[in-house]
């Protein structure tokens, strides 16, 4: 246990105490994802790209197929919009969180 004392604020009062490892490891507020910026949620292989840049798309349209762990994952659009930029092509191997497509 670390013996470094700090203040912890609870209901209007600062209490002198120590903080533990897990408290230090807290993740700050998780950010909501922008549905127009599409990242690879898992590393894998781009099996197919269904759209072209500049193309108008609607919510639920297929954008591409990301194959990972023997599963073909259909990536659909969550919004209506226009394909702004495609960062991958068929056959490309992508890592986790790699930028795939931007919509606007």
């Amino acid at each position: 246990m670390s013996e470094e004392f700090k203040d912890l604020h609870v209901d209007g009062t600062d209490y002198r105490t120590t903080l533990n490892r897990k408290f230090d490891m807290r993740v700050p507020r998780p950010k909501l994802k922008d549905p127009r910026i599409i990242h690879a949620f898992i590393p894998g292989l781009i099996k197919e790209v269904y759209v072209k840049e500049g193309e108008e798309i609607y919510r639920g349209d297929k954008l591409l197929v990301l194959e990972a762990m023997k599963m073909e994952n259909q990536i659909l659009s969550a919004v209506d919009g226009i394909v702004k930029k495609i960062h991958v092509e068929t056959g490309k191997v992508v890592v986790k969180n790699e930028l795939l497509i931007e919509l606007e």
Partner: protein
């Protein structure tokens, strides 16, 4: 002559089994800093007390080159022995035999000794050191795991179940320890995870070592999956032996009484608590000031340290202690400490161990991460387990008992049999600062000197509410006692509640907020 030959033949067969996976494999086991399965059992039980069962069990697998392959004892040693004279059933997986892999007959040996433990009403100890399922045996190996989990569940709350992780324990194998009451791990030896570093690297592209992912420190500090951390196997075995002195063999018995001993003189209960309720102290000092021989056996010492749980004795009888720890995170309740408390309370209740709760907390840990992690659901487990517990419940409020935290920490309202408060107790909806800021908001804001007014109002609130007398006037506190009388009050409460009967409505089982 025939008899001699047959006996000789038997000894030869026995010697082969005793050799485990052979000299080379044993050497490798030792070079990894591990004891052999047989040595582990020998060191854990009383000298000469171990009786082995099913030594000649063999696997039945015919596939993938397994037919004709001899696996001594099928990779697990099972039997009975005694620890400090108390009978126990135990099994130890033998990593030198096919990596301790679990095949169907291996599992059969384990389930047989578990069934035995249930019938005899004695604790079961499982020493885990296994590479996982024996893949050659396919679904039969999975069947084996499932049958162990089923028995772990049936045995839960009937006999104490102890898991010792002395090697890898990965994938499905982790769920037997997870279902048991106490899990022991050893630095650099124990490894527990569902998906290992290889899979994580393939799927997520992230590199992590086994030790960082599921080593002894991680499970005793971060996940809480393990209860006891040791530097060596020997230290681990002495922890197990000590645990056995506090717990009963089964749920129909009480733990053995010991001869009463006074607390050590060095723990002066009136000198532990600082003057300001905002300053920390180590609650374990208070526990040692009231426990026999100042002996406190802490569980989950490294995990959720803002709440302390463990066993002690009061005038020779085992008690379970749950206490807020102002030294860490001001002693708040949060997701982890709620889980820790709830699990321990249920163990004590199942095994007839009276509960003593020491209260000093400012409330719940504020934070988005806590809310998102479900502090509502986890916090509810504390309310559930305290309310459900029918063993004697004794509460001592030392300082702060604010808001929901006051209710949760075994208040009268959750069925405490005795609630004592020290004169320093502050039983209120929240701390004076927070309360004054809300109640006198307008007055403070509209005054000439808001800071001075706030101070005055905080003092007004403190004088009026930050004490135990309002709760005592309502009968929520039974007695206000000076700290020096705490041990006597506990002794009295435990002795008069020895025959406590607390009938509950008939039901199949409750539905705790898991």
């Amino acid at each position: 002559m025939v008899l001699r030959e047959k006996v000789f033949e038997f000894f030869k067969k026995k010697e082969t089994v005793l050799g485990g996976g052979g000299a080379k494999a044993v050497e490798k086991q030792i070079s990894m800093g591990k004891l052999t399965a047989r040595d582990r059992i020998t060191k854990l039980v009383d000298t000469g007390s171990f009786h082995e069962y099913d030594m000649f069990v063999e696997h039945k697998c015919q596939d993938f080159g397994m037919s004709g392959k001899q696996l001594p004892g099928d990779g697990v040693i099972t039997g009975t022995g005694t620890i400090s004279g108390h009978p126990v059933c135990l099994y130890a997986q033998d990593f030198t035999v096919a990596g301790g892999s679990l095949g169907y007959m291996h599992a059969k040996k384990i389930t047989k000794i578990m069934d035995h433990a249930m019938k005899l009403g004695v604790p079961i100890i499982g020493i885990n050191d296994s590479g996982g399922a024996r893949i050659q045996e396919g679904v039969n190996s999975l069947a084996g795991y499932g049958e162990i989990f089923y028995r772990n569940t049936l045995a839960s709350g009937v006999i104490p179940q102890i898991s010792v992780i002395l090697g890898p324990c990965a994938g499905g194998a982790v769920y037997s320890p997870a279902l048991t009451d106490f899990v022991f791990v050893v630095q650099n030896t124990s490894k527990m995870f569902i998906t290992g570093p290889e899979v994580i690297k393939t799927v997520l592209g992230e590199e992590i070592s086994m030790e960082e992912l599921g080593g002894a420190k991680i499970h005793t500090e971060v996940t809480g999956n393990a209860h006891f951390f040791a530097e060596s196997e020997e230290e681990c075995f002495s922890q197990i032996k000590k645990l056995f002195t506090y717990i009963p063999w089964n749920n129909r018995k009480k733990a053995d009484p010991f001869s009463p001993k006074p607390p050590k003189l060095q723990y002066d209960i009136e000198k532990i608590i600082p003057e300001s309720p905002k300053l920390p102290y180590d609650i374990r000092e208070v526990i040692k000031a009231v426990a026999d021989d100042s002996d406190f056996f802490e569980i989950h010492e490294r995990w959720a340290a803002n709440l302390v749980v463990g066993f002690a004795r009061i005038r020779g009888e085992t008690v379970g202690i749950v206490a807020n720890q102002p030294l860490v995170l001001a002693g708040v309740l949060d997701v982890d400490s709620s889980d820790k408390a709830a699990r321990f309370i249920r163990f004590c209740d199942a095994f007839s161990i009276p509960l003593i709760t020491l209260v000093d907390l400012p409330g719940y840990l504020p934070g988005i991460d806590q809310e998102y992690a479900g502090v509502i659901r986890h916090g509810a487990k504390v309310l559930y387990s305290y309310s459900e517990a029918s063993v004697p419940k004794i509460t001592v409020i030392l300082r702060k008992a604010y808001g929901g935290g006051y209710i949760a920490m075994c208040s009268r309202h959750l069925g405490a049999d005795f609630v004592f408060a020290w004169p320093t107790a502050e039983i209120a909806v929240m701390g004076p600062e927070g309360a004054a800021n809300i109640i006198f908001k307008k007055e403070i804001e509209s005054s000439k000197d808001p800071n001075e007014t706030r101070k005055a109002k905080v003092k007004e609130y403190t004088d009026k509410f930050a004490n135990p007398y309002i709760a005592a006037a309502n009968g929520y506190v039974d007695a206000i006692i000076p700290p020096r009388e705490t041990r006597d009050a506990l002794i009295h409460a435990i002795s008069v509640s020895a025959q406590k009967v607390d009938e509950r409505p008939m039901k199949k089982h409750g539905i705790p907020p898991f």
